[in-house]
Assembly symmetry: C2
Homo-oligomer: 384 residues x 2
């Protein structure tokens, strides 16, 4: 049966019909008062979503472009930065720093494990000359399903005083609490195909007053990714370059849906989806790749034993048209990842787990009692 695709990957995530229909509306001119009004409303909603009074800007980029903008606008050649690397995306931001000639120090942890906050504490307290200009952390590491302890790391950065706290919030924003102002985050970057519930193509960068101070003296070259231009335009409810009009009209719709649901409900829904998924995987006697203490509410990684990961994914797709994500780089075929981010309901998790039970049986995996995964998930949902 065609046209029954169910996306359970960490992006693109499912898109509600309201947003799909908004995408199909004929574009309007982006230099019109009608479109400016739309930008004005969305900017307010984006501030609400980021829990901030600071500027939140929209760029025509993927999440990577947004994070890169969030790094290069506030630093100069040779600046020392710490980058948390415990997955593909943390590693990517270190590569961005390398590409621009920053003095990048990687704080590494094994893929699947959280960053060790103690290592950040040591580096930051030892830096009495305040040479560390920024700390870059991936909040939810999409490649592994680990949620790093951003709250603690940002507190350490505040205590340091000089460094900026730059956050890759691509798969955490709109899934887990991320109070930009309360935690004192300086830069928060994200992408549209995640918690925002629209297709890919739009990036977001929120910038604190402290980061704007750093911007004044930052010398890395940029033009298309120059956030100063976006700020200047945003003050007039416009964009410096042509924005992705249709995606923004769709975003206007989904931001409204998010406001109707409420931040607390959004966060508790993702928490519930995570809890049910993890309980189910445990019920199937399959090892979870990220520890319970640092599990991402956006995505659950599973490291099956005695059976390869990719045949499971392939059969889930073929048999049930459910798309799961695979492992990246050295984790290829070692893990599979279940996305439960954005427009995902309790029902979707039940569907996925029940389907997974069929697939595991068809593949001859005998480590579980049929029904045990679904049963574990149902108990979580019945209690929350």
């Amino acid at each position: 049966m065609d046209d029954k695709l169910m996306l359970m990957i960490p992006g693109p995530t499912p898109v509600p019909e309201t947003a799909l229909l908004a995408l199909a509306k004929h574009p309007i001119g982006h230099r019109t008062s009608e479109f400016s009004n739309l930008i004005g409303e969305m900017t307010q909603n984006l501030k609400w979503l980021h829990q901030t009074q600071s500027d939140v800007m929209m760029l025509t980029t993927s999440g990577t472009g947004a994070v890169e903008a969030g790094i290069i606008n506030f630093l100069s050649l040779g600046d020392r930065i710490l980058v948390g690397c415990n997955g593909k995306f943390g590693e990517r931001w270190a590569e961005v720093g390398d590409a621009y000639g920053l003095n990048v120090e990687r704080i590494t942890a094994e893929w699947g494990q959280p960053l060790d906050t103690q290592q950040f504490a040591e580096k930051l307290t030892q830096d009495t000359e305040k040479q560390i200009k920024a700390v870059v952390v991936t909040h939810s590491e999409t490649s592994t399903g680990v949620l790093n302890d951003l709250e603690t790391i940002s507190r350490l950065v505040k205590e340091h005083g000089e460094a900026l706290m730059i956050v890759d919030a691509v798969t955490s924003l709109g899934a887990v609490n991320l109070p930009m102002d309360a935690w004192g985050l300086d830069v928060v970057a994200s992408g549209s195909q995640k918690g925002y519930m629209i297709p890919p193509g739009l990036g977001f960068v929120a910038v604190s007053p402290k980061a704007w101070e750093a911007y004044k003296t930052a010398k890395l070259p940029r033009y298309y990714l120059d956030l100063g231009k976006y700020r200047k335009s945003a003050a007039k409810n416009t964009t410096p370059f042509t924005p992705p009009v249709n995606l923004m009209v769709a975003l206007h719709a989904t931001l409204g849906m998010m406001q109707a649901e409420g931040l607390e409900s959004i966060f508790s829904r993702h928490q519930r989806l995570m809890n049910a998924t993890r309980a189910a995987i445990k019920g199937l006697n399959m090892p979870l790749f990220a520890p319970d203490t640092n599990a991402s509410p956006a995505i659950t990684s599973v490291a099956p034993q005695g059976i390869e990961a990719d045949p499971i994914r392939n059969l889930m797709k073929k048999r049930f048209d459910i798309a799961l994500a695979g492992g990246q780089d050295h984790l290829k075929n070692k893990i599979f990842r279940i996305g439960h981010l954005g427009f995902v309901s309790d029902r979707d998790v039940l569907s996925a787990i029940a389907s997974l039970e069929v697939v595991l049986q068809e593949l001859g995996y005998e480590g579980f009692t049929p029904g045990s995964g679904v049963a574990a998930a149902t108990r979580v949902f019945a209690q929350s």
Copy 2:
């Protein structure tokens, strides 16, 4: 009456229903064989559109991001470049060069006039030490409606031998003949919301083998805009970062429409739309801003005398829901611009001109005989 908007601005341009419906399709995973097949087919069609055997890559950017990528991937700090500046976009590429510390030499012409090819000839022939590393030219200058003589300039660049010919083809590709290989163009950059007939959000860069040679030693920093990454991924029919899936599905549809129409028909249609529009404006006794010798088939700029430009635009919008573009920077309220690029038919030009006649009468402009604009357009269409 709502919902009858007619876009006659140079971007976003009208989008056919086929593409709008494709936009509304639920996104699929971008790391799937299904999506790779789509990229593979589109890459072939993009080569056909660019009339090239070279790589054509897709980026999640607006046109500006694509042109910036087309400049910064092939140059190093302090490199001397010539930039043709006879409008807002030419000026923008000079600013990009400044932002990255290139040695930018502006070859200027008054806005509304074409670049003087003789000035390029002099600079290039005098450069016996081959220090000029690139020449950047905006083919169709969207801000003025001037079509620069790219064929001559690219011939001069070929004779120089060292410099790369970098082209902003944002409003020329898909409107006017632009044979990349036959003219020896090294970099051709464009954006989706123009001749491609889809909404904004996708950028394109085509790169010649000679430019890839320059890439090997080019040192300007880049990561998100690093075309080497796109090339490597494109060879496997994928993208280095998450692509705007829905826009690409829509593009697949419009590229099919373009192939069905054929390059020659597309070019002659735009030529006809331009001829009819210009004849009509002359029939209304209004001065054209760009000369007949260098008029863009994508957009016609009008510099009304004895009447301001913006009231015309405003009434066209209010009375007929036709969106025209205004003048930019010092041309604000001095000119208005009629876009006839992409999914625009003969009928659209007739509608726009007839509506313009009503508006001019309502505004008390007495310089023309009612019917004379439409009559002139009809004669062009009747003969071509």
